[in-house]
């Protein structure tokens, strides 16, 4: 009887944490030392400038693109904000950004992704302003680029659409989380073993939540993509 109670308690505790997984991936405000925060802003900025240029060009060709980009941002944000009691919290990035990447290309998505992160910081208290550069780099740049490359590669290799989409979404998500671990390990290297030891720790802890998440998000993206392909 006692063990049963423990199991129930454990299950409830896990459920409580689940919707917060989204914030688990966002480096929170104040967590990164200022020099690293600046560093990641500096790394992110060129990508944002590139993205901005490509957006400006496509808007010149088709003014409706402006609305599409804004609406896509809102769409991705909403997926991350829905308090559906399960893992949706974080599917915004692979799904929203993954979908967007295929539609607009990875550079334009870096802008949309960063806007989404900005609103998550402002409206949901997920992530932060000083850490926005770092979060944008892992979630709005590295993730989409990996997803994009994997998708292109898999299609070229002649794999089926579903497999390509699944891999793109799942690996994009995993890439994001590996990148976040790298950022944290660089900022907080272990006294013994330095960066690698620290990276192993961060990656190991996040793996508990992120690997199952990557798989379910991959599946979800396949469902969505297959649905959208029909219409």
């Amino acid at each position: 009887m006692k063990t049963l109670n423990w199991k129930v308690l454990y299950f409830i505790a896990v459920l409580l944490f689940v919707p917060n997984k989204a914030s688990a991936m966002h480096i929170m405000e104040g967590f990164l030392p200022i020099e690293w925060a600046i560093f990641w802003w500096a790394v992110t900025l060129p990508f944002l400038i590139l993205g901005f240029r490509s957006i400006r060009k496509s808007i010149k060709e088709n003014p409706e693109t402006k609305m599409m980009l804004g609406l896509s941002g809102a769409f991705a944000f909403v997926l991350s904000a829905l308090k559906i009691p399960s893992v949706t919290g974080s599917c915004s990035h692979p799904t929203g950004v993954g979908l967007g990447t295929v539609l607009f290309g990875p550079f334009a998505m870096s802008i949309v992704g960063s806007i989404v992160l900005l609103f998550q910081a402002l409206l949901l208290a997920h992530g932060g302003l000083t850490t926005l550069g770092a979060n944008a780099f892992s979630m709005a740049i590295v993730g989409p680029i990996i997803a994009y490359l994997v998708y292109k590669g898999a299609t070229k290799a002649g794999w089926s659409f579903s497999v390509a989409v699944f891999l793109a979404a799942a690996l994009g998500d995993l890439g994001t989380y590996v990148m976040t671990s790298v950022q944290l390990a660089l900022a907080f290297p272990s006294e013994v073993g330095g960066f690698m030891a620290s990276f192993t720790k961060f990656a190991g802890i996040f793996a508990l939540t992120q690997i199952p998440l990557a798989i379910s998000e991959g599946l979800l993206t396949v469902i969505v993509m297959n649905f959208l392909k029909k219409y």
Partner: protein
Amino acid sequence: MLLIDKYAYFNRLKHIHPVEKMTFALFLLLFALTVKDTIVSLITFAVMSAFIILGAKIPLRYYIKLLLLPGFFLLSGILTIVISFASIKTTTPHVLWSVEFGYWKLFITENNIKIATKLILVVLSSISCLYFLTLTTPVNAILQVLRKLKVPQLLIEIIEITYRFIFVFLETALHIYQAQNSRLGYMTMKKWLHSLGLLISSLFINVFKRAKELTIAMDSRGYTEDIMYIDDNYQYSAVNWIIITIIIASIVAVYLLFGGTL
């Protein structure tokens, strides 16, 4: 639907000029983050919390809830920093606690505890600054300031459209979710994936529909290239600037007094 957003419009500091609030919050945020000083962090946290609860009249319960929100990240992040591992052969200085598993040992050092404590304090003061800004300043007002700072117009326009449609889609998503629930979606893992897939898909189709309708509506109102409208009217206040300067100066002074260097 998003409570932070709601408080941003209905708080007692909403009429204060956004430049004043942004200067105040961002300066203290960057200062606390840069000097990483225990006392500065504690004072910043106290000052910001006071402004949030007593100044803006945000309910205490909600503020505490917000502070706990990133708890999972903080907890896992701090644990990861505090607990180290190494092969048993390596010697480690100032170990407070350790346990061995075959070839490996887990241990906690004094230094790591220090890093973690400081980090918790800095994080606490930083998020209090962020919350002060987001709980008292509507997104519109922040964007108006960014516009004045010559952030590219196009970027601001995309941000604005995103902001507005977050609420439209949030409502749509909620309605779809409720409709699915009432028809017994989400009941098992498989149904959950299926239902959610449908929700995302129809939301996505909505994006296209809305984009088209919005373009038509804007065109019909003479839209050409830039989205323009009249700015909201905020008044600068000398009193506010004096208060801000005094608080900032005192915190810097306290920092220098207790041995900090700039």
